[in-house]
């Protein structure tokens, strides 16, 4: 069960004409989108499209230009602590510097820079136990994280992000290093969370998973938004082939949509390198 505060206010994210420049290079250009309270948004696009930068900009850890709102408040005006209360962020970096027990790493989800919750109440422990169970970590709560495999460590950090009471979850490649069973489980967790009124924005490379679970897909290429909409609409658009350089076919199955990749299209090195942001 996903921890869900029934009293949580509906929360949305809205960008209008937002650009992000890093190291004098424009990584995102004039991006607009809207995320509603029950949205599970998959951000897709080829390598270097600006997906991770978009998530970081939403989280407020890279500066942006344009009109970006978290709820009804302008994103650039928020303090670091306010942003942390709005957004829980799962980074692509899965390293944890010290061999702390899994339990302590996950409990960092209840912590922000204003200080750890030195006294955890029984409800916190109940929520922790639920998140550990959801992520399949209940039998390794006491193990140091350095003894875990890459996939297990990935689930530990996802559990930390899920434990956070923040409104919106930003997950950068939450399925990386996971086996198929856990990929499915994680996508179900994220979908359930979004369905409960706490939106999820996830960068995904697995188009099939995005098609099956996301309520909305945002397609990026070279820092520009090409498409935004329901999965069928975005995945069947010609922009998919333009962005990825391969064709996608979608089939309906009993388990949900299945996606195949076909006909790799030849690309010159010039077309690949042309103004490609390095992110």
């Amino acid at each position: 069960m996903i921890p869900h505060d029934p009293g949580v206010a509906p929360f949305s994210v809205r960008w209008t004409g937002v650009s992000v420049t890093l190291n004098e290079r424009r990584v995102l250009r004039d991006v607009s989108f809207e995320v509603l309270p029950t949205d599970f948004v998959a951000v897709i696009g080829p390598n270097g499209a600006g997906k991770s930068t978009m998530l970081k900009a939403i989280a407020g850890i890279v500066p942006l230009k344009g009109a970006a709102k978290a709820g009804f408040r302008p994103l650039p005006g928020l303090t670091a602590l306010e942003r942390a209360r709005y957004f829980s962020y799962l980074s692509q970096d899965r390293d944890i510097a010290w061999p702390m027990p899994v339990r302590d790493v996950v409990l960092m989800g209840l912590e922000n820079a204003s200080g750890a919750r030195s006294r955890l109440d029984p409800h916190d422990f109940q929520t922790l136990a639920e998140v550990l169970w959801d992520c399949g970590l209940e039998h390794m709560a006491e193990r140091p994280v350095n003894t875990l495999s890459g996939g297990e460590r990935s689930r530990v950090l996802l559990a930390r992000a899920l434990l956070s009471p923040a409104h919106c979850l930003l997950a950068d490649e939450p399925l990386s290093a996971l086996d198929p069973a856990h990929q499915l489980k994680v996508m179900e967790l994220l979908a359930t969370r979004a369905d409960g009124g706490r939106p999820v924005i996830a960068v995904l490379h697995d188009i099939a998973m995005a098609a099956r679970f996301a309520t909305k897909i945002i397609l990026l290429q070279r820092g520009r938004k090409l498409q935004e909409g329901p999965a069928e609409e975005v995945l069947l658009s010609p922009d998919m082939e333009n962005a990825f350089g391969v064709g996608f076919s979608i089939y309906a199955t009993e388990e949900g949509p299945a996606v195949t990749i076909s006909r790799p299209r030849f690309q010159t090195s010039e077309s690949l390198d042309d103004d490609q942001p390095n992110v």
């Binding site: 970081k56 989280a59 407020g60 850890i61 670091a80 602590l81 942003r83 942390a84 209360r85 957004f87 829980s88 962020y89 980074s91 970096d93 390293d95 944890i96 510097a97 010290w98 061999p99 702390m100 027990p101 339990r103 302590d104 790493v105 960092m108 912590e111 922000n112 820079a113 204003s114 200080g115 750890a116 955890l120 422990f125 922790l128 136990a129 709560a141 006491e142 140091p144 350095n146 950090l157 930390r160 930003l170």
Partner: protein, 340 residues
């Protein structure tokens, strides 16, 4: 999750045990020295300020013990903070270059003033050197606030100060000055008074306070700078407070005792596994471990049968290196525990 509370209670008892060890070592330090003094005389001298040994206890041993505990503790705390900030188990206070800069200031003072430098001038010269390095580091970090920048700038400052010290040694006016410089560089608590305590304590206290103010962020920083920033950590503030705090605290110690090596690196490693490797929880235990290690080294230095008391910095390095190797070779802890 009963294990969590049990672990927290266990940590509390361990911290208390460490504090008791430091107190016992401090008591042993007051009893140690070339003149054997009974314990009741030491207590009488400390409490009432009279007796045959009052001068020895109050003027020689008490400031020495106080300096060993506070400077050793500060080095332990600074080492834990440096490792937490850089996410690197090999970091130590000297990684930001302040002790080397303080040593350069002192070495220049000895070179220019000779024996006249051994009063207020020497600590002040060391402070000038330390402040110059702290301000340089702050100036660089204000322009490019990142932990990698702090590390690179600190290493560059330390290396340039080390080279300058070698140059001053080479240009030393006489062998006596060279000998004094080398002895000072190795660190010692010999003949330190409450004047030295008064010089060292304020910057050490301020530095430790600054580290404690930024300590809330250390646990979140273990996930990396981006995740910490997303969790509400003000990276610039944390970095400036920690590096300046480490600079101040180590400068205070180096200014009055010279360079004492290895304590900053070792103390955090001595306590890390007992505190579940929590970078915030090990701060105070690292202070206690550093205090215990330095006080023990000072007791050993005074107890060795030699004509001249060996520098405590050399002993901390020897004791520390052996303890470090034991830790590395033990099955409880190894560098394989840390991600590459």
């Amino acid at each position: 999750m009963a294990g969590y509370s049990r672990a927290a209670r266990g940590r509390g008892w361990l911290t208390c045990a460490l504090a008791v060890v430091v107190l016992l070592l401090a008591a042993a330090s007051l009893l140690s020295g070339p003149v054997p003094i009974p314990a009741d005389e030491v207590i009488a001298a400390l409490v009432q300020g009279d007796g045959d040994y009052a001068v020895i206890v109050r003027e020689l041993r008490a400031p020495r013990t106080l300096l060993a505990v506070t400077i050793g503790g500060a080095l332990g705390l600074c080492g834990a903070a440096a490792q937490a900030l850089t996410r690197n188990p090999l970091a130590e206070p000297a990684v930001f270059g302040t002790p080397q800069a303080a040593a350069l200031g002192a070495v220049v003072a000895i070179h220019v003033l000779g024996t006249h430098a051994f009063s207020f001038v020497l600590p002040l010269a060391a402070f000038l050197g330390a402040w110059a390095s702290i301000l340089t580091l702050m100036f660089i970090l204000a322009r490019s606030p990142s932990i990698v920048t702090a590390l690179l700038a600190g290493v560059a400052l330390g290396a340039s100060c080390g080279a300058a010290i070698s140059l001053v040694l080479t240009l030393s006016p006489n062998p006596f000055a060279t000998s004094e410089i080398v002895f000072w560089l190795m660190g010692s608590f010999t003949d330190r008074s409450f004047t030295h305590v008064a010089i060292a304590l304020p910057p050490i206290a301020l530095g430790c306070l600054m580290i404690c103010m930024s300590a809330r962020s250390y646990r979140l920083l273990s996930m990396g700078e981006e995740s910490a920033a997303a969790a509400g950590v003000n990276l610039r503030r944390t970095m400036l407070l920690t590096t300046a705090g480490i600079g101040l605290a180590t400068a205070g110690g180096t200014a009055v005792t010279g360079a004492i090596g290895f304590v900053g690196l070792l103390a955090a490693h001595m306590v890390r596994s007992a505190y579940d490797a929590d970078p915030r929880a090990i701060l105070f235990p690292s202070f206690l471990a550093g205090a215990a290690l330095t006080t023990l080294a000072d007791i050993v230095a005074r107890s060795l049968p030699s004509a001249q008391e060996p520098p405590v910095g050399a002993l901390t390095a020897i004791i520390g290196a052996v303890a470090f190797l034991i830790l590395v070779l033990s099955r409880r802890w190894s560098f394989r525990d840390f991600p590459r």
